[in-house]
Symmetry: C2
Subunit: 297 residues, 2 copies
């Protein structure tokens, strides 16, 4: 049984804080810290853990404990939208576990976070039953600064926890979903409007691909802009199609793609699909990959 | 300990013969048949086995027994150069085994093939100590039809076995090497000269990339041509660079790349490198691949 969990926390500038969080996760049995990365522009870090339900639960609670103690959103600044010290906690079925089991785990952990740390919790994606509160962006809209006012409105009482934001830790979103790819494309320009227009054209909400979330942001430290994306179903909306579209759209503005980056983990099938596309490989089968064949024969 | 072995046999048109060979391999303990593919144009099949030294040895001998019984080179026609019913038997170190151990195995198996089946055997690549007899193409030049005359010449006595070709099975080349990628690019044209010129430009022997062997052939059944290649060091001469060069060279003749194919197995690192190139991924690490991380954490 392998459950993946990919908590995003609102700290990406103080390496010692992030390191303490990583250590807190590593100290837990039954779970492995597969990866973590921090983005100073976003002022955000992403941890990737994997293990059984009990281990993953313990690790998330240890992480929330550290984040609630060390992060104060009242002084937090960064390019990435955020509502909580621990902003989002998705559970992902990887092997030997169903989505339903991950949904149950999300609800259990969400309830624990709320009661233990007095932080309001919203369920999202597969763990949510309310279409208005399924999408992370809809729940997070208004961010930390707008949260008190939002929570006072009808329809925005949290799924667990207090009816008002935690004064320094905000609120946390917890849920279950399929694996996604956090994928950023950096453009060789400082024109933020270009990145924003491309993001608007490529994301589902404003007319783009069905399984793409995107926003345009400025990378202040580098003087360039970024189309920052989540690819929420890499089988149906593949990474190479998104890349080619962004590249073509950027060319309309006389702008080149400088580079791209994958944040955290990526399923090998997504990279294989890109190789297959660009190399025009006919008849390719997953079990032609040597490492795959050796494990599954 | 995992040793890979990739015997190429001169039969690609009679599926029942090939199936019998696959069965003979599967019947052996300690070895797995990972893959096999046949090419009717080439009139050749490639088997990919993996296991420990003893299992791989037994499987190869079982394969040679079947091939020697079922293939008669005197009536064999096909696009791919061949010298033996079993044309070449490379051993490849994959895990927990050194090249030196694979060389020793190649010499042992080469000697067995010669004595058991009365087939002359030449050692090649890492198993050969003679620079004139290291490269498969140099040993195979003249093919089956020119073998008797070649073996009469100084410097071409085999490493094991009789001093003249086996009347129906020719001679077999046995050795050890690093993993290679069998990679073909099909062009949307029937002009064989185009494929031959591109192959000449891309292969090391006539001025091309260091780790590429290539030839241009006609696919009679489809009326198109193919640049048929072995990429002998995919880390140093990557698949994407070869593809892009073939594509550009074909454009010089007004010809498009129709498709490409990978024959047999390909290391995941080769596909990842292609994805990284085309998607312009910066800072990519092998352990960002989910399946890799889960196995190696």
């Amino acid at each position: 049984m392998v459950i993946e969990c990919v908590p995003n926390v609102s700290e990406g500038r103080r390496p010692e804080i992030v390191a303490a969080m990583a250590e807190a996760i590593r100290a837990i049995d039954g779970v492995r810290l597969l990866d973590h990365s921090s983005d100073a522009s976003h002022n955000r870090s992403v941890f990737t853990l994997a293990g059984d339900a009990a281990g993953v639960e313990r690790a998330v609670l240890a992480l929330v404990e550290r984040a609630t103690a060390d992060i104060d959103l009242r002084t937090h600044r960064g390019e990435h939208p955020r509502m909580g010290a621990v902003d989002v906690v998705p559970f992902v079925p990887i092997e030997g576990v169903t989505m339903a089991e991950c949904v149950a785990l999300a609800r259990k952990v969400g309830s624990e976070i709320a009661s233990r740390f007095n932080v309001p919790v919203y369920l999202y994606e597969e763990a949510s039953n309310d279409p208005a509160r399924k999408n992370l962006e809809d729940i997070r809209r208004g961010e930390f600064e707008g949260l008190a006012a939002k929570m006072a409105k009808a329809g925005w009482a949290p799924d667990f926890g207090p009816a008002a934001p935690h004064s320094s830790a905000g609120a946390t979103v917890v849920g279950a979903r399929m694996p996604l790819i956090a994928y950023n494309i950096n453009l060789a320009t400082n024109r933020l409007d270009v990145a924003k227009k491309i993001a608007a054209g490529i994301r589902h909400s404003s007319g783009g691909y069905r399984y793409v979330k995107a926003m345009g942001i400025m990378l202040e430290d580098r003087g360039i802009v970024q189309v920052s994306m989540n690819l929420t179903n890499y089988e149906k909306t593949p990474i190479f199609r998104v890349f080619e579209t962004v590249k073509r759209e950027a060319a309309r503005y006389g702008v080149q793609v400088l580079e791209s980056e994958i944040v955290g983990l990526v399923p090998s099938a997504a990279l294989n699909a890109a190789a297959e596309f660009y190399l025009q490989i006919e008849g390719f089968k997953a079990d032609q990959v040597l490492e795959h064949k050796l494990r599954h024969e």
